[in-house]
């Protein structure tokens, strides 16, 4: 993605780093003749077709022995990446959203994974938001934890303390947190003690996604990191993508600029259908988010 930062900004950043380094490096380690690095410029880009790629990331609630592609989706995030600008957007969909599932009538949106697998779930979410995903990735709790462990954990900013009797009795404090595999899973799943339940949980999932992207971006220059990550994805995610395409997507993900990530959660009212609590999604908002982000993977407002 060309022009990720204005070059002047990059140079200024490098200048700040050098200035800080000059302050912290002991004098004995500084040789004036080695301060000849006068200018460093950076160019980067990743070519994917199309320029804006949409992925539906699904966390399945499959228990051991169950087929994770035909259970219920616990986490639903529609993610767009713009390889030309480095922007990315995530639109979270509450799993209890009451929607029309093609061929199956109305039901909770996550039931479409059970009925028709990843393809039908992608179509159902696509119909709600107005963006049909190019790819659907499905993972399960255990695999998700393994992937987080594989990248050395992630950092998130938690806006409010919360806990869960079963998943995290000691709770997550407010502030910057480092999450290992289990904690990242728990942080993404807990909803009962969150003020706005499923909506806040979806926002927490987006905080985890930001943490994953930041970690991948930071470690991408490490020899073999991206390659190892692709193997982990192949082992731990359902995807029908060939490994070459996964490799390209992984490199594109590493080039997303954190400051250009925008996120929103589809809102809705709480209803009751046949005794079950459901979310009645604000379809106008869902479509507006889709319209905003479709072409450039950028959300102006939620």
């Amino acid at each position: 993605m060309r022009k990720r930062f204005p070059k002047s900004l990059r140079l200024a950043t490098i200048g700040i780093v050098l200035a800080v380094a000059a302050l912290v490096v002991p004098n004995s380690a500084v040789n004036s003749t080695e301060a000849a690095l006068v200018k460093v410029e950076t160019a980067d880009g990743v070519d994917l077709t199309p320029d804006v790629v949409w992925i539906l990331a699904v966390g399945s609630d499959a228990r051991p022995g169950e087929d994770m592609t035909h259970t219920r989706g616990d986490a639903l995030q529609l993610i767009g990446m713009n390889t030309k600008t480095g922007a990315a957007a995530a639109i979270g969909v509450p799993r209890d959203s009451w929607v029309s599932i093609p061929g199956y009538g109305y039901n909770k949106i996550n039931a479409s994974l059970y009925y028709g697998g990843p393809k039908l779930l992608g179509q159902t979410v696509g119909n709600l938001v107005g963006i049909q995903p190019d790819y659907v990735f499905v993972t399960r709790f255990k695999f998700f934890q393994a992937m987080i462990r594989g990248i050395g954990g992630i950092d998130v900013r938690n806006p409010i303390a919360f806990d869960d009797t079963y998943l995290k009795p000691e709770g997550f404090p407010k502030g910057k947190l480092h999450l290992g595999g289990y904690d990242a899973m728990a942080f993404s799943r807990i909803r009962h003690n969150l003020l706005r339940g499923d909506f806040d949980r979806s926002a927490n999932q987006q905080r985890v996604l930001r943490g994953i992207q930041a970690k991948v971006r930071a470690k991408a220059p490490t020899p073999g990191f991206i390659e190892k990550g692709v193997v982990s994805v192949m082992q731990h995610l359902y995807t029908d993508l060939p490994p070459t395409e996964l490799f390209r997507l992984a490199q594109a993900m590493a080039h997303v600029v954190p400051s250009k990530i925008t996120t929103c959660v589809v809102q809705g009212g709480i209803g009751d259908v046949g005794g079950a609590s459901v979310v009645l999604p604000y379809t106008d908002q869902a479509r507006r988010l889709g319209d905003e982000a479709r072409q450039d993977a950028t959300l102006e407002s939620c």
Binding site: A35, L37, T42, A43, V46, G224, T244, F247, Q251, H255
Partner: protein, 178 residues
């Protein structure tokens, strides 16, 4: 070779480079021997038989050399043919950063000589076949504009195989005076 001799003098101390790239032995000797690309493997993820490794090494070197020669060491740096091993989209991205991804900014007629060229290859292999490569590249050169000044190109190229062979679909490259 005058440029090489000047470069050897300029490179006689540490260049202060800290970029993690291919091996970067101290200094280059001023000889008449053309500088050839030093090719090595870094991390190989997955199994890759020896024959496939050798073939991959040749193919990646051909792409990297094609870029080095066309973009920095040839006559037409910055022109349409500076990125022969790049995909169409990646070449367009590179062209947008032409001063950096080539020597487009140099005045016509400027002589350029390489003092170091190297590539270290990280491989993703699936079912004993390479499916993705991160090529860590280093190119150092001097020009007749300033024979003491060594410029270093470093960073990563991302390649995947296609019907036309291995192609660069992405890059993360720095250009620095060292």
């Amino acid at each position: 070779m005058v440029l090489l001799a000047a470069a050897a003098a300029a490179c006689s101390g540490s260049d202060g480079s800290s970029d993690s790239g291919p091996g970067d032995p101290a200094g280059s000797s001023a000889t008449d021997t053309p500088v050839v690309t030093d090719v090595a493997f870094g991390k190989i993820t997955g199994a890759l038989p020896g024959a496939a490794k050798a073939e991959l090494s040749d193919q990646v070197q051909e792409v990297v050399d094609g870029w080095f020669d066309a973009a920095y060491l040839g006559d037409g740096g910055g022109g349409g043919d500076s990125w022969p091993g790049f995909t169409q989209g990646a070449a367009a991205d590179a062209r947008a950063d032409g001063d950096l991804m080539s020597n487009a900014g140099l005045p016509a007629g400027t002589e350029v000589e390489a003092t170091r060229r190297a590539v270290k290859i990280d491989v993703l292999a699936v079912k004993k076949r390479p499916v993705g490569v991160t090529a860590h590249v280093t190119l150092k050169f001097v020009t007749s504009q300033d024979e003491q000044q060594v410029t270093r190109i470093g960073g990563r190229l991302y390649l995947t195989p296609g019907k036309d062979g291995w192609r660069v679909f992405g890059f993360d490259v720095t250009k620095a005076a060292v």
